[in-house]
Each structure stands twice: as C-alpha cells, then as structure tokens.
Symmetry: C2
Subunit: 696 residues, 2 copies
C-alpha cells in the first residue's frame, strides 16, 4: 500500500475507527450462481434441506424474459412474470382505441394469446468454465487490444458452442469482474405470447409514488406462454402453483436474473458513481420526465403514447434516487470503507510490496470522470450508468443497428464490435425486425432532448457536438430526421439489413445518412473509453478478484450481471426507521388506500369485483432475500419447490443493495400466487388459466 | 477537539497530508464591506491610490436593483444594469403583440420611459454597528426563542432608524454568520423606469449554452432611470462614462451586491449542501425545466409566456451544476479541508478544551438533512437552497402574503414573522400591489409541478402532504385553484390587504381559502427548522466567527449576503484547463460565431447595423475580481472612478467561488461601455442617451 493518496488515507482513517467488517457473505446475503450456491449454509440458516436436484429443477423452471425474470408454472409453457415486464408488449399490441393497458388483456381461449413483438425467453440449461481461455486471450495485452482480444474470444466461444442453432443462445458471462468467465447455454424461445395481463392500474396502484415502497397493493403479475413450432412448448419441468395464504417466517428462494450490482467496486470507483455518473443520469432523466409529462398532458393520443415510456423512466429515476441516497449516507459509506480496509489489510499481509490494484483503479477515475459524459451520451454501454442513447429513440437505435451492422458485417466476426459477432446476430435481427408501433412526435421529443442535453453537457464548442449538430438546432434536426425517415416500416428495415453496406450507403433515408455521418466521433469515443477506462479497469478488477478469492475463499459471490442467480431468505416485515411494517398486505388495505384520484384509483374491473374477492387475501408480501432491479418477475419458491409469488419490487432503502448488502433494510416486494389466483378467477374471468395452474 | 468523529478525523487526515492553507484572504480575494475595505492592500496589489473619499463616491454611485446591482451614470438618475436584470420588467410591460424582448425597448424621448411594475432601487447611504444590541437580544436563549428574539430586535432597530419614511429603507445585516450586525440605511427609489433595453437576443446571444462561459458576445446591458416626485432624480454623484477600448491588466473595482456565498461553512455543512441541498434543488428544477420547455413549444403564446421563466430557471440550474462540480472535485474539497484544519489548529491552541463549535454544527447536520426537503418545498427561506416555493407561482405567493400578512398584522410588530415587521411592510405592499401580467396556464404548470414534487419527495403518506392535497391530485388541485382565483386583479389584492384578517377570512377565493388551510403545517415546519436548525447553527456560527477574528484578525471578510460589497482585480484572461482565453471579445467574433439557428442567431437590428459597428470594438471582457451571482449589473470602475462596463456573468468553474476563493479559475464577465455605446448609437438610435452619458 505504498501508493496511498490523501483521499485514500482519509478512507482508511475513517474506516479504522469504525468496526472493521469482512467481505465474506453474511447469512442470506448473496446473489449466487447455480453452480456455486451455498447449499449447506442456506439449509443451516433456513432449516431447509434442498439439494442439487432441487437446484436443477428450479433452474430449469426459471426464465429470463428480456430484462426481467419469470417462472414456468404449467406443463404447457405457461410462465408467470410481472405485469410491468409485459407493459411494453401490451403497449405494442394496443392502439389508442383498443388499449389493453386500460382494459386488461384477457384472451378467453389459448388461440387468442398474442405474440409479443420481439419477445424472447430463455432457460439456462448448461454452465461451463471458460476462464482459462478468456484470460489467455487477453494475456500480455493493454488498452483496446486487450478488450478487443477478450471480446473476440468470447464471440468465438459462443459461436463454437451454439453455432447457428435457432433455439439456443450461448453467452460468455464475466463473473467477479473478471475473476471467472463462464459459458452459459440457454434454451431459447423466440415465440412468446401474451396470455394474460390485468388492467394496468391493478398492477400499478399508487403509481410512481408507491413504487419502491411498502405497504403495497399491486397485482403486478402477468402470464406469457412459450411457443415452439407454433404450438405451446412442452415444459414438464415447472413450478407447482401454491396459492395458499403465506406464513410469516417461511423460508423462500428467489430465482431470477438480477441486473447489475456494483458491490465489488472500490471506494474510489464508488465515488465516481456518486460524483459523476448518478448526477448526470438523474439530472437529465428528470428533464426528460418533465418533457414527457407535459407531452402526455397535451391530449389523449399523447397520453397513450407516453404512458409506457414515463413509467419506465420514472422507475429508473426513482431507483437512482435510492442509489444517490445510499452513496451520500455517511454510515453506509463508512461500512463500505471498513470492508475495503479489511480486504486491503488481508491483501497487504499476503502480498507485501506487490502491485496495488486499488492504485490502478484510482488512477483510472479521473479519466472515467472526464470521459463518462461523452461515452454515456454519444455511445452508451458504460456499464455504470442509465442514460439512454438518443433518449431511447426507437428509430435512432434501428438506424444505428442498420448502419453499424452493415459496416461490421464486412469484417470477420472476431474483428467486429462484439455486439455484431456472428453469435449475436440472431438477437440483433430479432430486435430489428420486430413489428413495433412508432410514434413520430414522441420520437422527436426524445431526440430533441438527447441532442439538447448532449450539447449542454459536452458544451457547444466540443468537436463531437459540432459533428452531431452541424449548424442545425436540436429542435430542427430532430424534426427533420423523424419527418423524413421511413424506418418505422419493418420491411424497409429488413431490406436495408439484407442489402448490407451497399444498400445502407445508397440509402437516402435521412436517419441512415445521419447515422453514417456520426460514426466517426461515436466510434472514437467508444475506442477511447475502452482503451483508457475499460481495459485498465478490467485488468485491475481481475487482480482484485484473484485477491478476493485468496482472502475469502468461495464465500464470496459475484456481482449481479443480468444472469440467473438464486437468493434465499424468509417471509419477513421490516423494523427500521422509515420502513416499519409487517410482511403482508391484503385487499382490505387496497380498498382503504383508494382515493379515486389517480394513481390511487382502483382499476374498474377490480373495483367491480370487490364483493367477490375475499378481503383478507394477501396481495403483496416482503422477503429478506437479497435483491436488486432485474429480479422483477423472479419466481419465489419454497423449500418444496412450489411457487408462492413473483418478485416485483423492492424499497427505496433497498437500492443501496447495488453497492453493498444490508440485511436490515434489504426487502423484496412480492405479488402472491393467492392474489393472482383471485384476480384470474374472481376479476378477469380467466378460469382456464386457473385450471391450467392446478385448479385450486 | 475531543469530539472528533471518524468522518471528521478522515477530513483531518486528508488535509494534514496536503499543504495546509490559512483562512486569511489572499490578494484580490474578498467581497468586502465598504466600512472594512482593505485600502492599503488593494493599492499595494494593484498599484493604485484610492482613498476613503473615492470609496464614498463609488458607494453613492452604486445601486441595488432587486436581486441585481447597477451604477448611476448621469446626473439625472440614469442607471446602467444588465439586460437580464430588467428582463422581468420587459416581460411585464410587453404583450405577445408588442413584445419588447423581441424588438428592444428604445424610447425616443425621456417621457416614453416606462415604469417597471414593483421595481425599486436603493443606494447605501449609511452603515452603523448594532452588534451589541443584536447579540444581547439573543443572549441566554435557545431554539426558536433565540431566533425570534433576534428577529424582533432587528425589526425594532430598523423601525427606530427609518420609521415610516417612504424614501428610506433600513436593514439589519448579519455579517460573518453572526460575528457582526450592521444597520444599513438606504436611499430608496420606488419609481424606477425602463430607459433602454436591447433586443433580448443581443443580450443573450448563445443563450443557456454560452451562459457562464467565455468567450462571450452579449450586450447584456440596459438602462433604468430613478424618479422622484414623478421627475428624474437628481444624482450629482455618479460614475463618469468611459467608453475607451479597455486595456489588459488595468486595475478595476467592482461594486455590487453579491447574493450569497457559503465560504465560512464547515466541511460538515458543505457536505450537507453536496449530499442533500443541491441534489434536491437541481433534480426537481430539471424536471420543471423539461415541463416549461415542452410548454413553450406548444404555441406562440406559450413561448412568449415561458421565455422569461425558462431563462431564469436555466440560469439558476446552471449555476447549481457549477456548484455541484465544485463540491465533488476532490482537489477543491482537499483545499477546503486544509483551510479548516488550519483554523481548527489555531482554535485548539487558543481554546484548549473549550467548547467545540464544529461539533455543534456537526450535530445539526442530520437534522438539517432530514428537514431540508420539507422546509425547502413547503416554506422556503432555508438560506442554502434555490427551490422556489409553489414553483414560483405568482398567484400563490400573493395569496400567501395576503393570508399571512393579515394574520401577522393582528400581532405586535415584534411578535410577527420577521418579514411582516412594521419596518418591512412597505416592501411587502410594493410587491403585492404591483401591476403584473398573470398567465394562468403557466401558473397551473408551476403549481402542478410543485404539488407533485412535494408529494414525491416528502412521500405520499406524509401528514403535511395530506394537508396539502387532501384527496385531490396535483393536476386537479392546481387547475381548480388557478381557474377560481381572482387574485390576478391588483384591485382584489389591494382590497384583501386593506380589509385585513376579516376580509381574508371572509373571502371565498379558492386560493385564499387554500392558503388559510395550509398555514398550520407550513408554519410548523418553519418553526421546527428555526428551532432545530437555524438557532443552533446561528449560535455555533457566531462562536466560530469570534474564533475566526481571534485567529485571523480583520483580514477576513464576511460571506456575501446580498448587500453592497467592493471587490478588486485586473482585466485578465484565463489559462487553466477548460478555460483558456484572452480577456477580450470583439464584434468580429460575434459575426463569426453566428449560425443563424437559435440561440446563435444575431438579433435582427444588431445584424442590420453590422456595417456601422467598428468590428474591433470590444464587446465583453473578463476580470480577476472576486465574484458570485447577484453581482449582475455591478459597475466596473477604474482607479479614477470611471465606469468601464457592467458585470453580467462569470464562468461555470467560477461557481466554486460560492464555497471558496480560487484565483486561478475566478473570472467575472463584463459587457463594456464601448459595446454599450456603439449599441446605443449605431444600432438602436439612442443618441439622446449617448449624449446624456457625455457624448463620446
């Protein structure tokens, strides 16, 4: 530790004065991979007796559905997830006139189930270790050569394992920030149909205000169905539906694909997130929110168009608020510092004057602080932020895929940007060809916001900004691009994709021409980021990972990376300041909380069914299992492998889980199978699904 | 220093490892009061020979105009300030059809000069010390009793000194955060007329993007005229107009009323600003900005209505960004910590085991962090933040003044909320009775945003939020209040004010009724804040101020408080990363920078005069004088007492000046008298003003 700076010294000094805490996982902590789940510890903590066969069944019953999780609940491909996980699907199959978000989607027969545009679902069938190949690929390299060699090797591994199989997907997963690499093989379903969604308000009662909070009264559940060869998939391995009233203290397991945690970051890295990443992301998201809210108030059409985008944006934004709160909480940061000091001390004892990975990461921070705005705004893919490139404009993203896809496919797979490697083209095409509605005025709002914020944050005289805008204004350029483009038509997109670089270069579509014109600056910022931020970060993180294994053995788990994990805990309420409640809410509570004014208005069909719903039916409950965003829809399973509900949320306080586990405040919020059963049977006339679930 | 916590220790440890820097003012540092200006040091630093008579003349030629500064430039009451300081006046006297922001306001004869609604201007005529009286008033008291006793004493002092004189204002000014109290007596002008404003775009070329930056090309200047008895005021003491080309290195002085600095805050207090105050203020301001931008795009009427509010909001927001950047800059914070350690060491050497004012302030921080959102959103007046109560809704603020004014005037002056003490009622009435246009739809946008953000930040189940909204939604309540109220009519406001509590209580105006209904919670949060945050902060700050005098003598200056100060420096460019330029821009540069697309479109009349304007005329320049927001419009004076320009801005990097002086980055941005002269003569046909200024 020769290289301690004043700032690092300060962290040490602070941490040494508090109770030093180790980095080993505590009981109920951890989002564990299925090939390293602490079976014995979990059984000991919970008093259960699960085994490897149990783990295998749970894994094969668990589904990754876009950015969400889900669980198979019948032998005929029926899958439960959250309503908010199908909200975009519902929006895509709705029109202003026939709006399933308002009415619910309740097909009376299986044949009326409707395909979700671009929807895919995956079941994790195999895990194998590819650490040696991946580490060898980058050995001796620096900068962008290092990241490119790694990316190319991952593409090769994936392609070798999955080839062109349409019903499989292979993914090299980076664990422990480079400490391990695993090849995950999925059974892939490209035909996913919506089988049931409640009225949106039944799932979002309380709206953004009740989001990330408890007590909660939301039937945030929906069903999709997996199809193969135009028929329901056969899924003999699935969770048994258990709609019985839940019992406080019951041991539970949650299987899902939590999105991303940053628990293994050093204090220096966390301070970059606190000082640069979150402020940029949150501040500009807040302005977009304001623009969209006002847009949605301009008329019924605008309200319809903006509903799903606003909900998604508000969810990300509120999660960010919870994260800001964590990183500005002196006690939480002291806890993180204490854990880092414990690790540093163990490392120093074992390595003496060896290389200093903390110092290497500290040296990256000024560069990351400098480059983050340009990378986040112009390119995306920073791995730490949430700012959507082009404001999430669908047209822009399609155009980028077309232009880059054409340019990259001219090269050998290993030479391409990794997202266009052969092993990933199927996924790219599936997104590109999906038949999704496009709302031009909304697209223009997004693009205008993005151009305006990029100009503001990078400053008007920045050469990249000049390349982006030329002599046009954000208002004028965004209007010109959206008015002129034909990319809303899937046939046009397909023709350009299939026509390759020649077709793209010959296109006079203004959005294609625009994307062609900005490739140089956007690719340059990405190269800069990869070489000066990503590569040195990856290399130092890999050394830290090895050191962590040496210090703590396999009692550590990897950061979440959007891949399947298993967590465990109990059905339990909460008793900390700002978060005091028992574990259950009932329909009684819903009727009490309703004011009639949005978002506290009960959905009409739900309200109409009030007399048929047993008032003491548990709607939502909380668990102590370790959770983070992306776990949405995760099946909650008891020790017998029965499904008790679907994870749909956590609390604002729980957002600190992104950076460090705190059992006191960590709570998942679950919609129960009991509430879903009564909704299907007593509200929405979906007895056919109740029967399929086992009829109880 | 027995009470050092881990966090404090960490600051010490960090600071001790850097070069410890003292807290005494460095050359060119300081916003000095006119009764403690370091004449000798300034003369030594600049090579000038100013004296007390010079100071007196400058003080009597300097004007406070609302939240801005200004300088008298003729014997007949002509005053130069910034165009952005008269922007609200211009908006108030404009209509969509006759919009002076578009055309400029160029009265051909003095009789056509138009009164600014509610505009007042003040000249500081006398300063006397009232420290003993003020400190005695609070002696032995704690909590709200302490703040109330102080407030009451200030009101008594002001009333005794100014009585009911209509042309005077008396103000007890708190300096050094309670180390000194001074009575400032002003000559007050209640009839202020607009004498000239350029086209808005001439003053705001580059808009928000070029705001807080340099090189700059903005004729951000305007003229008002002081009137007495319906005739131009006689002002024999005034600055001599000097439109000569400015020379790099010239010593200059800037006299103005900088708004507020927080340089004397402890590190613990600064971290509260960083972690709680700035994030709340900035995040919600960003959403309001988004709502207003979209609103302004809905039509020409909306664009007209929202223009002035957006400019003001963006200015505050961008300043906040600069402040966030300062408080998250590790080097800057190390510098602040080093200064604190130096002070602590001196304090410990002198006081041994005496009381620990740092510890007292540290103990306040958790409470301030907890109470800030409620205080900022429900009541305002936190002294640290910028969030406007009720979104700055003019109707709401009038209604609050009417309701509280009526309630408070039932009590003896010393018992009232201090803003309704007898000595302040004249100012209250002048604002209340001003004839200002009201735009109902815009008012509704502001109120809806405010209600919505208050509910979000305080949470929906907070009792205060329930009191604020009842069972209504922000959308519904804001619409109902704005549609129903008659307070846009000045006669209605006057009748209610003059009718007193009886009239207010009998009113069926929905906004009056609403304000009556929320008095209990809003007054309660204010009482809570005063007793648990303000009082202990004031008491500890007073002890720190005494300690600072003991440690550094009179070489320290007080934080800025919106009262008249004098700073000094030189005409100088900048040479630090991100801020490298010479001190001058010319009209040549303007023509070069223009793209034709807003906000880089040259104002039409200015463009039409291109051939008449000498291209090498200096438009803007930068100074090294110590600056902060509120200095806008400050006269820039040379050692001969001639005016060379008006301060109108600084840079984003300079915003750290709020918390600590850094000569390297500190730069004021000035519009020159030369540019103003050519604009008056060559663009706007205002030869009569050029003649009045001396005819050069």
């Amino acid at each position: 530790m020769r290289h301690l700076t004043p700032a690092r010294h300060a962290i040490w000094a602070a941490a040494l004065l508090t109770l030093a805490a180790g980095s080993a996982a505590k009981a109920e902590e951890g989002m564990w991979t299925f090939d390293n789940f602490p079976i014995a510890r979990a059984n000991q903590t919970l008093g259960t007796s699960i085994d490897q066969a149990w783990l295998d069944r749970v894994r094969l019953s668990s589904v990754k559905f876009g950015g969400c999780s889900a669980g198979i609940v019948s032998g005929e491909g029926l899958v439960m997830t959250n309503n908010h996980c199908v909200a975009t699907c519902v929006a895509n199959i709705s029109t202003q006139a026939v709006n399933y978000a308002e009415t619910g989607f309740t097909p009376r027969a299986r044949e009326e189930e409707v395909k979700c545009p671009g929807g895919t679902a995956e079941v994790l069938t195999d895990i194998s270790d590819v650490t040696e190949r991946m580490q060898a690929a980058g050995a001796g390299l620096e900068g962008q050569a290092f990241t490119q060699a790694r990316d190319a090797e991952a593409g090769r591994i994936e392609q070798e394992a999955c080839g062109g199989a349409a019903d499989k997907r292979c993914q090299v997963v980076t664990l422990y920030r480079g400490g391990q690499f695993k090849l995950y093989t999925y059974k892939k379903y490209s035909d996913v149909r919506l089988a049931f969604a409640p009225e949106d308000r039944a799932a979002t009662f309380g709206g953004d205000l009740d989001n990330f909070s408890f007590p909660r009264f939301a039937i945030d559940a929906a069903f999709i169905r997996l199809y193969e060869n135009d028929a329901p998939a056969q899924t003999p391995t699935h969770f048994k539906w258990n709609p019985a009233k839940p019992v406080e203290g019951t041991p539970v397991f949650v299987a899902g694909s939590p999105g991303a945690t940053q628990r293994l970051l050093t204090m220096d890295q966390l301070m970059t997130v606190r000082d640069v990443v979150l402020p940029l992301d949150q501040l500009i998201a807040s302005e977009l929110r304001g623009r969209l809210i006002r847009y949605s108030e301009e008329g019924e059409r605008q309200a319809f168009e903006a509903m799903d985008p606003i909900v998604g944006l508000e969810n990300t934004y509120k999660r960010g608020l919870g994260r800001m709160r964590a990183l500005t909480d002196p006690q939480f940061m002291d806890m993180k510092a204490a854990a880092e000091v414990d690790f540093m001390q163990r490392y120093a004892a074992a390595n003496g004057d060896g290389p200093d990975p903390w110092g290497a990461l500290e040296a990256v921070q000024p560069i990351q602080r400098e480059l983050y705005p340009a990378m986040a705004l112009l390119e995306g893919g920073t791995g730490v932020g949430t700012t959507p490139v082009a404001g999430g404009s669908q047209l822009f993203l399609w155009a980028r895929t077309l232009v880059r896809g054409a340019q990259e496919r001219e090269k050998a797979s290993a030479e391409r940007l990794p997202e266009y490697a052969d092993s990933r083209l199927a996924g790219v095409q599936s997104g590109l060809f999906a038949e999704r509605p496009v709302y031009p005025e909304l697209e223009q709002v997004r693009l205008e916001w993005w151009l305006s914020k990029t100009r503001e944050w990078l400053t008007v005289d920045n050469p990249d900004v000049r390349a982006l805008l030329g002599r046009e204004s954000p208002e004028g350029l965004s209007a010109r691009l959206v008015e002129g483009t034909k990319l809303a038509d899937p046939a046009v997109r397909r023709a350009l994709w299939e026509g390759g670089l020649q077709a793209v270069q010959a296109s006079d579509d203004p959005l294609i021409r625009y994307l062609l014109s900005i490739q140089e600056p956007t690719r340059a910022i990405r190269a800069d980021w990869e070489s000066r931020v990503q590569a040195p970060t990856d290399q130092a993180s890999e050394r830290l990972a090895a050191a962590r294994f040496a210090a703590y053995g396999d009692s550590v788990y990897p950061d979440a990376t959007g891949t399947l994990r298993l967590t465990y805990g109990k059905i339990e309420g909460s008793d900390v300041p700002g978060q005091r409640w028992g574990p259950f809410t009932t329909f009684d509570g819903l009727w009490d909380r309703a004011t009639g004014a949005a978002p506290f208005d009960v959905a009409p069909k739900l309200l109409a069914a009030k007399d048929r719903i047993p008032a003491d039916t548990v709607m939502n409950m909380t668990l102590s299992s370790d959770t983070i965003g992306g776990s949405s829809g995760s099946p909650v399973v008891n020790a017998e492998g029965e499904i008790l509900g679907a994870n749909f949320d956590s609390t604002v306080l729980t957002q600190r889980n992104a950076y460090g586990y705190d059992r006191n405040v960590n709570r998942s919020v679950i919609v129960t199978t009991g509430a879903v059963t009564t909704a299907l049977r007593d509200v929405y006339g979906m007895e056919r699904l109740v029967a399929e679930l086992g009829g109880r």
